[in-house]
């Protein structure tokens, strides 16, 4: 082979390699795409419901295998185990008085979004509309709404369930193929101050709740939701409070049992 031919071959190989890398790299870039809604097969924007990579709808039940003594029953006043509280949070918690909350008509203080998923409950998850996923709990009769797309919060008073912005997260495609599955990311703000735990461990109005909802199927066919939750509150938490909570799918709503908020 002449030197010129050798150079030409080298240049072609370089070009081909670059082309191959571009193909791979671009598939990776596509993979990292995130978005509240999605993209339909024809390239148009799909609704969040149509673009859902996982199906969260249906009935789900808390399975309390962790922190039973702090979730299934109300722990003693002053029990802050597992929560990285600040000294000011301890001061508030030490003054917890459920009778006072009842008298003030505020028995739902421990049913706000940062605490609600740890309450032993059933979930009923439905699509309220094409871009709003609704999560209801029978314990405390609460409703959360996860808004996808360009939803803008309405001005108004903070609420127990706050304003939740949602987006789908998808696995990175490889070799041009999009794998199944994905996660739901939800960020909730504008929350009315309440309790992280029924015994009065407080969170403030500045709290931010970030959740990742994942679905998995077990060997026996049971489907589970795992919610990885991070609560950030500069006033009452020394560091983010991170938990992971599990819910098992139920065939129907036969055990759905609406109950009011209880302060104690």
């Amino acid at each position: 082979m002449t030197r010129r031919a050798s150079r030409s071959l080298a240049a072609e190989l370089l070009g081909l390699t670059a082309m191959a890398l571009t193909v791979v790299w671009s598939s990776g870039l596509e993979a990292q795409g995130r978005g509240g809604q999605g993209r339909a097969g024809d390239g148009t924007s799909a609704t969040a419901k149509a673009a859902a990579p996982i199906d969260l709808t249906g009935y789900w039940v808390s399975v309390v295998t962790q922190d039973w003594r702090w979730r299934m029953v109300t722990p003693a006043k002053g029990d802050y185990a597992s929560i990285p509280i600040t000294a000011s949070a301890k001061k508030v918690g030490d003054g917890w008085d459920p009778a006072k909350d009842e008298a003030a008509g505020e028995p739902c203080k421990s049913y706000g979004a940062p605490a609600l998923m740890a309450v032993p409950t059933r979930l009923r998850i439905t699509w309220r509309d094409e871009n709003t996923l609704q999560v209801e709990t029978d314990a405390g009769t609460q409703t959360r709404q996860f808004h996808f797309g360009n939803w803008k919060p309405q001005r108004g008073s903070a609420t127990w369930q706050g304003d939740s912005i949602a987006e789908w997260e998808r696995p990175r495609p490889a070799r041009g193929v999009s794998p199944k599955g994905g996660s739901l990311k939800v960020v909730t703000t504008h929350l009315r101050p309440g309790y992280l735990r029924k015994n009065g461990v407080p969170y403030s109005a500045g709290v931010v709740l970030t959740e990742y909802w994942d679905v998995s199927t077990e060997r026996n066919g049971d489907q589970w939701i795992t919610i990885t939750s991070t609560v950030e509150d500069a006033r009452y938490l020394r560091e983010p409070w991170v938990t992971a909570l599990n819910f098992k799918n139920e065939r129907d709503g036969a055990k759905w049992d609406l109950t009011p908020c209880l302060a104690r």
Partner: protein
Amino acid sequence: MNPWKLGALVMAGVLVTVPAFAQFDLTGKWASRSGQDAMERGPGPDPVDYLGLPLNDEGRARALSYDYSLMSLPEGQCGYHTPFYIVLGPFGLHMWNEFDPVTGRLVAWKIGAWVDKDIQTIWMDGRPHPSPNAPRTYGGFTTGRWEGDTLITTTTHMKSTTIRRNGAPVSDHATMTMYMVRHGDLLTIRAVMDDPVYFSEPLVRSRVWALDPRGNLNLGNGVASPCEPIAELPRLDIAGLVPHHLPGQNPFVNELTQMYNIPVEAVLGGAETLYPEYRKKLTGYVPPAMCKRYCGCGGLGVPCIEDGSGVPR
């Protein structure tokens, strides 16, 4: 060689080295971030605290026969936990991967050891699990596969040991499945222990870690510690003595009821106790007036009450 053929080979080579579907990187040091189970991960559970465990009658009977002095028997001193301890214990994770030096393909993920848990190897190369009759080890045998962005592992061939540090048992017929998913710098592991011998339904637990690039985290020595059994308790020198509680004679059965007002039926666990409707059976429950031990106030500069006296120290 024809340049196009060479190019095709290059292209094939590049594509072959692309990671298989949707994997994410698990390598590094992961610091424990779970704001759950503080007592179980820290000081340890009370002697008879089976809250949240789906024990069946056999599992409960074996749990109640457990005596902590068993750990002082020479054969008990060097026992490890199963990999389920990953979601029970207090430590961080050190994870790395191993590749075939010739093909470059991933062979296994490794989860580092702790002082009382062996290195866990997660085989990713498609090898089968051993025969059902193969010997058991504390670490068992684990294989893994990716499903979307979730690494799913299956562990079999574990020795019978404890599922909680107070003697609640798990048998050597158990199968453990782990679901590992990463969100940014958070790693969540949901572990499912399915034990047809001692549980009436699978036990599910989750825990979260955060990537710690400084790698300065508690790994409980980070190695499976060498162990030399010694005589710890003179009374155990009597040949054949096995510490135990006979049926109906465990002295700690009512301890949690006395301290926390929780009915003994709940303390002894069982699948029924894990579900929200069980709270209807707890209507007579009244919380203790004030937390008196392990109240979680450490780190605040505020004295904790941890000895049951009610007096901060």
